[in-house]
C-alpha cells in the first residue's frame, strides 16, 4: 500500500468522516498508521532514535489528524494534508526533544512513505494518566463519549450536562489531551 495510490479511497473515507461517519473515520486512521509508522521510523533512524519514539509520533499525528480535521479542505487532495501534519509533528517533536539538527534534511513524502506492517509497539502515551490531569467535567465527557462509546445524548442524560456542553467538553478534552501528550516528554 502506498498513500498516493490509495488517495481516492482515503479521501472518500475522510469526507465520510467529516460528515459524521465514525466507522469511516476510524478506518481512515487505521489505514494511515502503517504509512505513518514507516515514515517516522525512517526519519528517526537517520538520527538514531528507536521504534517507541516512532510510535509516539504516530499517535501524536493521529490525535492531530483528528483534532485538526476541520482544517482539511474538501476540494483538495488528502495525502498532502496528512503529510504536512506528519511532517509538522516530526519537526515539532525533534525540536521539543532537543535532537533537532537543522541540517538533517527531511525527505519528501513520496520517497519515504513506504509500508510498515510490523505489529504495533506500545507508545509511552498512557491515556489513563493523562486523563487524570483533565478537569473533572471534561474527563467525564471524554470517558462517556470516547471510551465508553455512548452517544452524545446518552452521555448528556447520564452526566446531567446539556448535549452541547458534552460536545464542547469532548472537543476541549481532546485538545487538552493533545497538549498533554506533547508535554509528557522525555521518556
Amino acid at each position: 500500500m502506498s498513500l498516493r495510490s490509495d488517495e481516492p479511497e482515503l479521501r472518500s473515507l475522510m469526507l465520510a468522516g467529516l460528515d459524521g461517519d465514525a466507522s469511516a473515520h476510524k478506518s481512515l486512521l487505521a489505514k494511515l498508521v502503517p504509512s505513518l509508522r514507516a515514515y517516522f521510523k525512517g526519519q528517526l533512524a537517520r538520527i538514531g532514535r528507536g521504534a517507541a519514539d516512532a510510535e509516539d509520533l504516530v499517535q501524536e499525528t493521529l490525535i492531530a489528524l483528528h483534532t485538526r480535521r476541520h482544517t482539511y479542505d474538501r476540494s483538495q487532495l488528502l495525502t498532502p494534508w496528512v503529510y504536512a501534519i506528519a511532517r509538522y509533528r516530526l519537526v515539532d517533536y525533534l525540536r521539543r526533544t532537543k535532537a533537532f539538527n537543522a541540517h538533517a534534511p527531511i525527505e519528501e513524502a513520496a520517497e519515504v512513505f513506504a509500508d510498515d506492517d510490523q505489529a504495533a509497539v506500545d507508545s509511552t502515551l498512557d491515556l489513563k494518566k493523562l486523563m487524570a490531569k483533565l478537569a473533572p467535567k471534561t474527563r467525564k465527557a471524554i470517558q462517556l463519549v470516547k471510551l465508553d462509546g455512548l452517544t452524545v445524548s446518552e452521555a448528556a442524560t447520564q452526566s446531567g450536562m446539556s448535549e452541547s456542553a458534552v460536545k464542547v467538553s469532548v472537543h476541549r478534552g481532546l485538545r487538552a489531551l493533545s497538549l498533554l501528550v506533547r508535554q509528557r516528554r522525555p521518556s
Binding site: 468522516g17 467529516l18 460528515d19 459524521g20 461517519d21 465514525a22 466507522s23 473515520h25 476510524k26 486512521l29 487505521a30 498508521v33 510510535e55 504516530v58 499517535q59 493521529l62 490525535i63 492531530a64 483528528h66 485538526r68 480535521r69 476541520h70 482544517t71 482539511y72 479542505d73 474538501r74 483538495q76 498532502p80 494534508w81 503529510y83 504536512a84 501534519i85 511532517r87 509538522y88 515539532d92 504495533a120 506500545d122 507508545s123 502515551l125 498512557d126 491515556l127 463519549v145 470516547k146 471510551l147 462509546g149 455512548l150 452517544t151 452524545v152 460536545k167 469532548v170 472537543h171 481532546l174 493533545s178
Partner: protein
C-alpha cells in the same frame, strides 16, 4: 498505549464538521480585530469632524486603499496557511509587490523634490503619533487573528506570524490614516509603511511561540 486503542478512542462518536467554519472563524476574527481597533481609536480621540476633507484628501484615500489592499491579500494568505500544506506563493508575491511599489513611490517623490524640502516632507505633522499609534492599534487585530489561527493548523509558523503582523499593522495604519492627515508621499511611506513592516517583523518573531500546536 497501543495505537489501535487510540484509534478506537478517536473514532468513537465522530461529530460532523462544518466545511465553512475555518474560513468564517478567520474572517470573523479579522472583523472583530478591525472593529476593536477602530473603536479604541474613537474612544481615545473621538470622531473626527470631517475625515474626508482638506487638501491632502488624495493621499489619505491612497493610504487607506493601500492598507486595505494589504489586509485583503494578507487575509487570503492566512485563510490558506491555516490549513496544513502549501499555502501558495501568489499572495506573498502580491504583498511583496505592494510593499515594493509604495517604498519606491516614496523614494521617487524624494528624488524629484529638492533636498532642502526633504526634512519638511518626512517630518510632517504628528509623525511620531503615527509611528507609535499603528503598532498600538495593531495589537488588537493581532490578538484576534492569533487566537483564530491557534484553532487552525498552520505549519509555517514564522511566515504565518509575519503575515498576521502585516495584516494587523495594515489595519492599525488604516485606522490611523482615517484620523491623521498625511502631508506627503514620503511621510506616508515612512510613518505608515515603516510601522506596518515593523509589525510584520514582530509577528515573525512571535509566530513560532504563539502559533505552536
Amino acid at each position: 498505549m497501543k495505537t489501535d486503542e487510540l484509534i478506537n478512542v478517536l473514532g468513537a462518536n465522530v461529530e460532523p464538521v462544518n466545511s465553512g467554519h475555518l474560513r468564517n472563524a478567520l474572517l470573523a476574527a479579522l472583523a472583530v480585530g478591525a472593529a476593536a481597533a477602530f473603536c479604541l481609536r474613537l474612544a481615545m480621540y473621538g470622531v473626527p469632524a470631517d475625515p474626508f476633507s482638506g487638501k491632502d484628501i488624495g493621499l489619505k484615500v491612497a493610504g487607506l486603499a493601500f492598507a486595505l489592499s494589504l489586509v485583503v491579500v494578507g487575509g487570503r494568505f492566512l485563510i490558506k496557511s491555516a490549513r496544513p500544506g502549501e499555502a501558495g506563493r501568489g499572495p506573498l508575491i502580491v504583498i511583496g509587490l505592494l510593499l515594493f511599489a509604495i517604498f519606491s513611490a516614496g523614494a521617487i517623490a524624494l528624488a524629484f523634490a529638492s533636498p532642502a524640502a526633504w526634512r519638511g516632507m518626512v517630518f510632517g505633522p504628528q509623525w511620531a503619533a503615527c509611528f507609535f499609534c499603528i503598532p498600538m492599534f495593531a495589537a488588537l487585530p493581532f490578538v484576534s487573528l492569533v487566537w483564530a489561527l491557534r484553532r487552525a493548523a498552520p505549519t509555517r509558523l514564522a511566515l504565518t506570524g509575519a503575515v498576521i503582523g502585516l495584516v494587523a499593522g495594515a489595519l492599525g495604519a488604516a485606522v490611523c490614516a482615517y484620523h491623521y492627515p498625511s502631508s506627503s508621499i514620503p511621510f506616508l511611506v515612512l510613518w505608515y509603511g515603516g510601522p506596518v513592516v515593523l509589525c510584520a517583523v514582530i509577528g515573525a518573531m512571535l509566530g513560532p511561540r504563539l502559533l505552536r500546536w
